[in-house]
Every structure is written in structure tokens, then in C-alpha cells.
Symmetry: C2
Subunit: 130 residues, 2 copies
DNA sequence: TCCAGTGTATTAATCAGTTAATACACATTC
DNA sequence: GAATGTGTATTAACTGATTAATACACTGGA
């Protein structure tokens, strides 16, 4: 478990996003246990309350569930899981579109640059994340 | 002059971005006068100090220049202007790539969704902005 | 039993951004 | 020359979001 934080977005938002990505890619499986609030806080060097806030959001979104006082687990609801993936993709695309449209760049030019950048640095990146 | 603000980013940042877009598209021409700090604040319903901060950033970035106490003007440096366009595009693409890559979606699928969304709502949008 | 680890809740402190209130020098216009 | 409208600077207050500190209740196992 490792997350690289940016300074722009709130930490708890970034934590939620990280879990969503892990769920979307299947890296975290349905029913799988996730670290306790305190342990996550230790691992990521963040405050336990920040971890708690992230988990609370995920719980309310149905991404994880908690029984008694045992560690939370990833939801087993496949509908939720697949919609997480869709949501992440759509959100990224919509942000991108609203960023790029005001500049009035032809779509094909955008796609060209996009493909180029998408394949960039893929080797170093593979070392880091997988 | 009209800008729709989101709540995520600081207002002064959004103002700067708006001007960059206008410069990049040629909607604001080299040497063209822009509203005074106080007038911009009036138009956008923001605090004069926020307008001042935005202009200060733009001045430091060489996007605008100010002589004496007459209203600031768009730079006449074509290098800066074209690099603004490049910068906006590259930044958007890089943000998008780093948002989409962790989800491990095939690039062609992404491009498909992107093209679809890019052409979406183009009619209503045209009414509003042009 | 008791204790360590869990989830949960409450309150305080911190921080960035924004707004606000003034002030000053300058120049253009009336 | 006075007035108005520029740009610029300084300082303080406010506000909402975020993070931090602390406490409480529960439970499963040693």
C-alpha cells in the first residue's frame, strides 16, 4: 500500500480515489479485508482521522462494509464495483473535455498528443507501480 | 467578460486560467487592453484584491504588461502567447493521463469515449459561449 | 478477566484562500 | 488645480475545509 499525494486535493479524497482505482482494476477483490483505520494511517503517514474520514466516505458510497469492530472489507456488490470503474473513467473524460474544449483544439490533434503521452515513460512507470 | 467559477479551485487561479484561454484562442489579441482591476472585480463580482492577485500573477508570467497607471494590456510577445496555448494543452493532457492510467483502460477505449463526449452537447454550448 | 485492537465521535487547532479596509503615487481629464 | 480613475501595497479579519488530539465503546482472544 503506497500512495503519492499531491498538495492540491484533500488527502482523504486522494485516499478514496486510490481505493476506487484498486477496486476498479480488480487489485482489491470483493470481500477482501482492508487495513484498519489506524494501520492505514501508519502506512500512509497520515492522521488516523483522515483515514477514518476516507473510510467513512467509502462506507457511505457502499464501496466497503464494516461488521462490528473487525476490519472493513471491500463490497461484494458487483454492480457497485463495475460502476466505480465507469465513474472514474467518465469523470476523467469530462474533466478533460471541459479543460480542453475552451482552447478550441481540433479533436484529432488532441487525440494525437494524448496517445503520445499515454505511452510515454511506460517503462519507468511499470517498475514503480507493479 | 463572464466566467463560471467552480468551488474547487481558488478564484484567482480560475481568473488567470480564463485569460490564458482567451489568449490561447486569440479571443484576446496582442496589445489589447483588458479591464482595470476594479472593473474586472465589478464584472465578475469578486473582490478587487482577488482581481489584483490574478493580474499580478499574469504580469509575473509575462502574459500582460502595465505602463504607468493605464489599464494593463495583453503581451505582444508571440512566443509567450503560443507557449500559453501549448502549456494549457499539455497540462490538460497530462492531468488526464495520470487520472486514466491507473485504471488501466485500453487507450482506444478511452479515445472512443473521449470523442463521444467531446462532441456532446455541442449545440447548447455554442449558444452560450459564442 | 483484561487488554489490545477495532470502529466511532467530539472538539480544537491549523491553514489557505478570500475578503475587507485603507493608503499612496501617478496621470488624465474637466 | 481638483477630481477621478489608474496601479500598487499593507494589514487585518473572516471563513470553510482539513487536519490533529483525545476520548469512548465494543469485542475477540490470550
Amino acid at each position: 500500500m503506497k500512495v503519492t499525494f499531491n498538495k492540491r486535493d484533500p488527502v482523504y479524497v486522494q485516499v478514496v480515489r486510490h481505493f476506487k482505482e484498486q477496486i476498479a482494476t480488480g487489485n482489491l477483490e470483493p470481500g477482501q479485508e482492508i487495513p484498519s483505520r489506524r494501520e492505514l494511517a501508519n502506512q500512509l503517514k497520515i492522521n488516523p482521522n483522515t483515514a477514518q474520514r476516507a473510510y467513512k466516505e467509502m462506507e457511505e458510497a457502499g464501496l466497503i462494509f464494516t461488521q462490528g469492530n473487525s476490519p472493513s472489507k471491500i463490497t461484494r456488490d458487483e454492480n457497485i464495483i463495475s460502476s466505480v470503474r465507469e465513474e472514474l473513467i467518465l469523470e476523467a473524460v469530462e474533466d478533460f473535455v471541459s479543460a480542453i474544449r475552451p482552447i478550441k483544439v481540433p479533436i484529432e490533434e488532441v487525440v494525437g498528443i494524448l496517445k503520445e503521452k499515454y505511452n510515454d515513460d511506460v517503462f519507468e512507470r511499470r517498475d514503480k507501480n507493479d
